[in-house]
């Protein structure tokens, strides 16, 4: 069976995004559980990022949705239709891979035309749409080249055009930026986000780079050991992490030893309300963001500390200080303040709510 030709004739016309549901999806690899009952709903036109450390199951989840991996339990719904039993080539998805996946024996234009050819779109229309898709990613003049004549960033842009040209119901991005250098990566991720917003295509993006996920996604699902630990907007994940794992994985956190009692963590004389699931009272590690720690001069109030190192990060500066008990704390502050290693300083905590985990005794 061949796929039906795409509905819209123009690549640039917005598409009605599809709803994607992963319901209780389980995947085992010879005894190892890669997906442990994943539940995820992606709304039409939404850009969701799967974020997590290596081996957490994020790529497996994306490949399960694409049909490249069969699932053992659960269902995968696209606009309400269960596609779990459908082969990949009949799911009407677009996918960009981590490694460069352009067909080396075809020109850029032929690569982009490939999906349309599979849908038996007439040659003239095919060429026109492929050209449009290449214009969309800013490579309209590179159609006659071969993959090996393009840079890595250009190849991934062609792969994006190839994935979009068929107007798929869902766009899947499997760490498409990880092989690129930092500057190209930032430029391409902004381009991907812009195009996704313009087209309104439902998108699932897999990455292990938290900055990337927070920068482009409407919502981010943090995964751990085959499960979704927390899903929310980047702001929610950052400000109200539901677990110590999320607090530790998303953004930077200081691990401060404290004591939990009656839902509050007390550490170094400061009190923090506890976020997320309740923990038994007792010693804990509280996760405090660097921007929630204030740096003062040696004469100000607060905990005495010594500057270990200070880094200029463009619009802000991050300084590592060592408290008298040896605990290292990272403080984020204005660029104008330029502490030097060895300087005596004082630190205080803003006291914003924190996540915590039971301390290993």
């Amino acid at each position: 069976m061949t796929l039906a030709p795409p509905i819209a004739s123009s690549v640039l016309a917005p598409v009605p995004g599809a709803t994607v549901d992963l319901v209780g999806v389980v995947k085992d690899y010879s005894g190892t559980r890669a997906l442990d009952g994943i539940d995820l709903r992606i709304r039409p036109g939404e850009f969701v990022a799967l974020l997590g450390p290596s081996g957490c199951g994020k790529t497996t989840a994306l490949r399960a949705l694409s049909g490249l991996e069969r699932i053992d339990e659960g269902s995968i719904l696209i606009d309400g239709d269960d596609v779990a039993a459908l082969p990949t080539n009949r799911r009407d998805l677009g996918m960009v891979f981590q490694s460069y996946s352009l067909f080396p024996h075809m020109t850029v234009l032929e690569n982009v035309e490939f999906g349309l050819r599979m849908r038996r779109v007439a040659a003239g229309e095919r060429r026109e749409r492929a050209g449009e898709a290449l214009e969309l990613v800013g490579l309209g003049d590179r159609g006659a080249r071969f993959a090996h004549q393009l840079s890595g960033g250009q190849q991934q842009r062609v792969a994006l055009a190839r994935a979009l040209v068929t107007r798929p119901r869902v766009l899947l991005l499997d760490e498409p930026l990880s092989a690129l250098d930092a500057k190209v990566r930032v430029g391409l991720r902004e381009q991907i986000r812009r195009i996704q917003t313009e087209l309104g295509i439902t998108t699932l993006f897999v990455t292990h780079d938290q900055e990337e996920a927070l920068a482009v996604a409407d919502r981010v699902a943090v995964m751990r050991a085959g499960r979704i630990e927390q899903i929310g907007t980047p702001e929610e994940l950052y400000t109200t992490p539901s677990s110590a794992f999320v607090a530790d994985f998303v953004g930077l956190s200081n691990r401060i030893p404290g004591v939990l009692a009656a839902g509050n963590v007390t550490a170094y004389g400061a009190t923090f309300a506890l976020l997320g699931d309740p923990l038994p009272d007792g010693p804990v590690l509280a996760y405090v963001r660097p921007e929630d720690v204030l740096l003062g001069s040696a004469r100000s109030k607060g905990l005495a500390a010594t500057v270990v190192a200070s880094s200029f990060l463009g619009s802000l500066r991050r300084t590592a200080v060592r408290l008298d008990d040896g605990t290292l704390i990272s403080v984020q502050h204005e660029v104008a303040v330029q502490p030097q290693p060895g300087d005596a300083v004082r630190v205080t905590f803003r006291g914003r709510p924190v996540s915590a985990s039971a301390a290993d005794l």
């Binding site: 061949t2 796929l3 082969p87 990949t88 080539n89 891979f97 460069y100 996946s101 067909f103 490939f114």
Partner: protein
């Protein structure tokens, strides 16, 4: 540890010695093919072979050459239709079987042809009953003997091309397995497939033992037979088959260099 590499002079000396070693018998064959028993040189032996008046004399010889080319074609078809899809399938779907397949394909190189014939003889008694005693059935045996060479040529290409990613990309774009194989994988495995085909042709054209012991007539058995009555013709044909094999090897080398240029 420093790697000791020979100097250019040493390399040229080694190349020269090897060249002499290989060229002496070939020069001797060329010399013999033009020689006359009573002394002197003539082109008569060469022209006689291609003289239409002698067609009847050399009929069986040319038939044997035709048999060898038919066997080469069927053997290449076996490689392309059985070995290649099996290797692609294992590479894409059953990577754990890669070692097993490699082991199976390498086995024929460790088994002497005579031993292979002992095993094949009873099999061929069945083959003859089912398919008749046609010479092309010998290609089943040749399909086994060329396995190690064909496997290596295709595997080297499979390892050099991101076959899994390309096939997955094609499938997400709507291609079925047949399209993936025909439009995406084969064009990228062209070098390996052609090399496997050429090596198979070279091996089949040079094969003697199996054909002789299974009582089939091919180029090599014909050469032996005719060599007893007309040694000049045997030497001329041996030279021509060497030249043909040399051209095949040049083509394989050329394919390799074209591939390297494309991927650089």
């Amino acid at each position: 540890m420093d790697v000791v590499t020979p100097s250019p002079v040493t390399r040229w000396i080694i190349l020269g010695l090897v060249g002499i070693l290989f060229s002496v018998p070939i020069i001797a064959m060329i010399n013999f093919s033009f020689s006359v028993p009573t002394g002197g040189y003539t082109v008569d032996h060469w022209t006689a072979l291609f003289n239409p008046d002698n067609a009847r004399t050399y009929r069986q010889l040319f038939q044997s050459i035709g048999n060898s080319f038919l066997l080469a074609a069927v053997t290449v078809a076996i490689v392309l239709l059985i070995l290649l899809p099996a290797m692609v399938l294992v590479h894409l779907q059953f990577p754990r079987l890669k070692r097993v397949l490699e082991f199976i394909c390498i086995i024929p190189i460790t088994v002497p042809a005579i031993v292979l014939v002992v095993g094949l003889a009873p099999v061929y008694s069945v083959v003859v009953k089912v398919l008749g005693g046609n010479v092309w059935t010998l290609a089943f045996a040749y399909g086994i003997t060329v396995l190690p060479y064909a496997y290596r040529a295709i595997q080297a290409n499979l390892d050099a091309v991101p076959v899994v990613t390309l096939s997955e990309a094609a499938r997400t774009l709507g291609a079925n397995w047949l399209t993936v194989l025909g439009r995406v994988l084969l064009p990228n495995l062209r070098r390996g497939v052609l090399a496997a085909a050429f090596i198979s042709v070279a091996v089949v054209l040079g094969e003697f033992t199996i054909a002789s012991l299974l009582n089939r007539r091919n180029l090599q058995t014909a050469l032996l037979q005719i060599g007893q009555s007309d040694p000049w013709v045997a030497v001329i044909l041996a030279l021509l088959s060497l030249a043909f094999a040399f051209v095949l090897l040049l083509l394989i080398g050329r394919l390799g260099s074209v591939g390297r240029k494309q991927t650089s």
